[in-house]
Amino acid sequence: MAKIRNDYEHSWWPRLLQWLEDGSTTLDDELTDEIVESREGHLLPSHEDVAAHEARLEERHRKTLEDEQAMYDHAHQWSKTKGARLVDWIYRIMAVVICVSIIWVLLQTASYLPPFGSPDNPVNNEVSQRYIEKGMEETGAVNIVAGMILDYRAFDTLGESNVLFIAACSVLILLRVSSDKKHPGSVHQLEVEADDRMYEPKNDMILQHITAFLVPMILVYGVYGVMNGHISPGGGFSGGAIMGAALILYLNAFGFKRTERFFTFKTFKVVSVCALSFYAISKAYSFFTGANHLHSFITPGTPGMLFSAGLIPYLNIAVGAVVCCTMYAFYTHFRKGDM
């Protein structure tokens, strides 16, 4: 006669069958049984029932705690034994081995690459040749880097400025204090904001005087970098970063009260939307006319002049505005979640 195990209900096969049937485990059923049982009785359970129930619960609680303690003891013992340490060791050693081997492979790869600066390298081909030789003539930009990123490969740069924009939007989604007063989450955020305001303005005299002296110069330099992006080294990305840095410095010295007079969230939205829309629309026009070989009214102009090189100076201004706004928005949102 086959031996029937006492804990047949808890062995894996009936549990599998039961799980396949309704997705619950025996423990779940035990709990539901109990609940059903208690509901089947009188509407108002007697004191004895309640006491018995509580005793049962207490017993179960005690037993669970004991089991848990036993499990921890067991695990503790196990961690002292060599087996567990071995697993830990293998894990760490494997991590180190994988890292070292990847580093080794990449270094090895670098040693096989074409030698640095050699004229016979594959990179010195007709592509870079045309950029260097005809870049100024075709785009009208003395700074051929500006010509490359804003005229030859303007589509990439359009994508890149949208990367900045989407990064700013992600920060807004994550950190912006909500004006939705009904939502419980926003109350906490408002408190955090109040906290932040307590620590400002710092009114550091030295900082304020130096800032008052420096910020106009930095801003002018940034504007110069943006406006002359097609003539000298610089351009929208670097000039915009300089302007953003100036704004952040000003904010740190004088606090939000002063910056709010000229730079609010609305300013941010208006400036970045105008800049990006201008970029997208003007470039869409340029792409469309280029692809269909239509006549475009954009001409390179005289290289070296401030307003030359077709769209490049205007695109530089647009990119500069987006970069400046994005940097400032990052700073303010990481600081207090608003502008």
Binding site: D156, G159, S186
Partner: protein
């Protein structure tokens, strides 16, 4: 150049240009505007597919600007790109429709326009990914996809989503980093960023035997980088949290579009950048093949162990991504065709499953546990039917998309004729068996009598017009994908011939 050939350009620029304006709109205006743009892009894609098949244009390039290709940027469109773009747009729009009600519930009011910005930029990035013929453009839009996907997860403010987004970010940035490193090395070896030019240069290198070692490394890190980003098996640890706790639209879009966009890019790299012969000689296909086979089994086993319906579907995605990589790993043309078809079949199906699971959970007191989902198929009938159709398609029920793709995989394996044939057939059988276990169990659960003590809030009023419409449309697309699979497969294999 005909006017209709500008459609790919319009499909990229329209969502890209309108995204910035959406960020300043009020909530409802942003919603309608997003729908308008998505409808426009979808309509354009439909027209494009029709015209492409009508004129049998093969594939053509489109200059983005006044300078020809190696100097300026360029996009390229063929039949495969057109069909993929159409599928992506349809799924994007239906996912947004289906999740709209939950979205407005989960998101703070003044953050909803930003969510639409993310969706529009994601659409633009997907379109650019599909149509681009330039490796660096692909990277730029890959960045947009990564960031947008992260904010789609964090948009629903909850502790778990932040953890999920952090994981997602770390793994995906690792993938992006490897991919960028690959582009840099490849540029150093070939001096080009335009895909067709790189292919010529690589073929030249392969013939002369120069730079073999760096080339192998480039292929490996690009494939692994994109594999990480599209949740290939050993790199899938970010999947369950990212898909399981975000708002349903995000889960649908992430699982069925974002990861597929990366796979499509990888396919493009195989065909158009490196060339299949060189790829096969590096042996990376074998590695992807092994990862895929293990993933097909392990993903399903993990799915069986879940007690949460959303996490179960998420793990099922891991297994299905394994199917796609297995098709690519076979290395023959049939395998690639089957993989592309499975991209569509899985994308359409998984988005529908996520939305339907959201609806079922809604009808069960917002619980996603199987215990509470009992009988939810009766409480939310359309979601139940849609889930059943999706589950049957995943399992491989005839007349549905999943069946055709499984059959195609088996046929492709027969065509390869070596040890891979046996491996694929055996794993396919095991994986189908495991799929059946967890999907049919779920279907049975949602049509069972609820537990006696369970009480569900009786929901009054409409469950959202958009939700039902979207699920019905999704079901129709699923059935159509199965019924007209022959035509679609023909279009895919035609497109693949012009793809390289």
């Amino acid at each position: 150049m005909e006017l209709w050939q500008s459609i790919p350009f319009a499909c990229i620029l329209l969502p890209l240009g309108s995204a910035a304006a959406t960020s300043v709109m009020k909530r409802n205006l942003a919603k309608y505007w997003t729908f308008f743009v998505m409808t426009a892009v979808t309509t354009l894609s439909i027209i494009f597919v029709v015209l492409m098949s009508r004129f049998e244009a093969g594939s053509y390039t489109y200059m983005m600007g006044h300078y020809p290709a190696p100097w300026g940027n360029e996009i390229r469109a063929g039949m495969l790109e057109a069909v993929t773009a159409l599928f992506f747009n349809v799924i994007m729009m239906l996912s947004l429709m289906g999740g709209l009600k939950k979205l407005e519930e989960h998101l703070l009011i003044d953050k909803q326009p930003l969510y639409y910005v993310m969706l529009l930029l994601l659409t633009a990035a997907l379109m650019a990914q599909v149509y681009t013929n330039d490796l660096f453009t692909a990277y730029v839009f890959l960045e947009i996809m990564t960031i947008a996907a992260c904010s789609l997860i964090t948009a629903r403010t909850r502790g778990r989503t932040l953890v999920a987004a952090t994981r997602y970010m770390i793994m995906n940035l690792l993938g992006s980093g490897l991919f960028l490193l690959g582009i840099t090395l490849l540029y150093d070896l070939t001096g080009h960023l335009l895909m067709s030019n790189i292919k010529e240069a690589v073929a030249e290198l392969a013939r002369s035997g120069q730079y073999q070692m760096p080339l192998t490394v480039v292929v490996a890190i690009m494939s692994i980088g994109l594999g990480i980003k599209s949740a290939l098996f050993p790199f899938h640890t970010w999947v369950p949290d990212a898909y399981g706790y975000s708002t349903p639209t995000s889960a649908a879009v992430l699982s069925s579009l974002v990861s597929k966009g990366y796979i499509f890019l990888l396919l493009k790299i195989f065909y158009r950048v490196i060339g299949l012969d060189v790829i096969a000689s590096t042996g990376i296909l074998d590695i992807l093949f092994v990862f895929a086979l293990v993933g097909m089994v392990m993903g399903s086993i993990s799915a069986i162990r879940q007690s949460d319906i959303r996490r179960m579907i998420a793990f099922s995605s891991v297994a299905q991504i394994g199917y796609i990589f297995m098709g690519m790993g076979l290395g023959n043309e049939q395998g690639m065709t089957a993989a592309v078809f499975h991209i569509f079949a899985h994308a359409v199906c998984k988005a529908m499953l996520f939305l339907a699971a959201g609806g079922l959970a809604d009808a069960s007191g917002n619980s996603k546990q199987f215990r509470d989902l009992r009988g939810s198929g009766f409480r939310s009938p359309i979601a139940g039917v849609a889930f059943t159709i999706g589950a049957l398609s995943m399992v491989g029920f005839p007349f549905l998309g999943g069946f055709t793709s499984k059959m195609n995989f088996a046929m492709a394996a027969m065509g390869s004729g070596d040890i891979r044939m046996m491996l694929v057939l055996i794993v396919l059988v095991i994986s189908t068996w495991l799929n059946t276990i967890y999907f049919l169990k779920t279907v049975i659960t949602i049509y069972r009598k609820p537990l006696p003590e369970a009480s569900y809030p009786v929901e009054r009023g409409r469950r959202g017009f958009c939700f039902n419409e979207s699920l019905v449309l999704f079901s129709l697309v699923n059935v159509a994908l199965g019924l007209f699979s022959q035509g679609i497969i023909e279009a895919i294999s035609n497109g693949l011939r012009n793809f390289g």
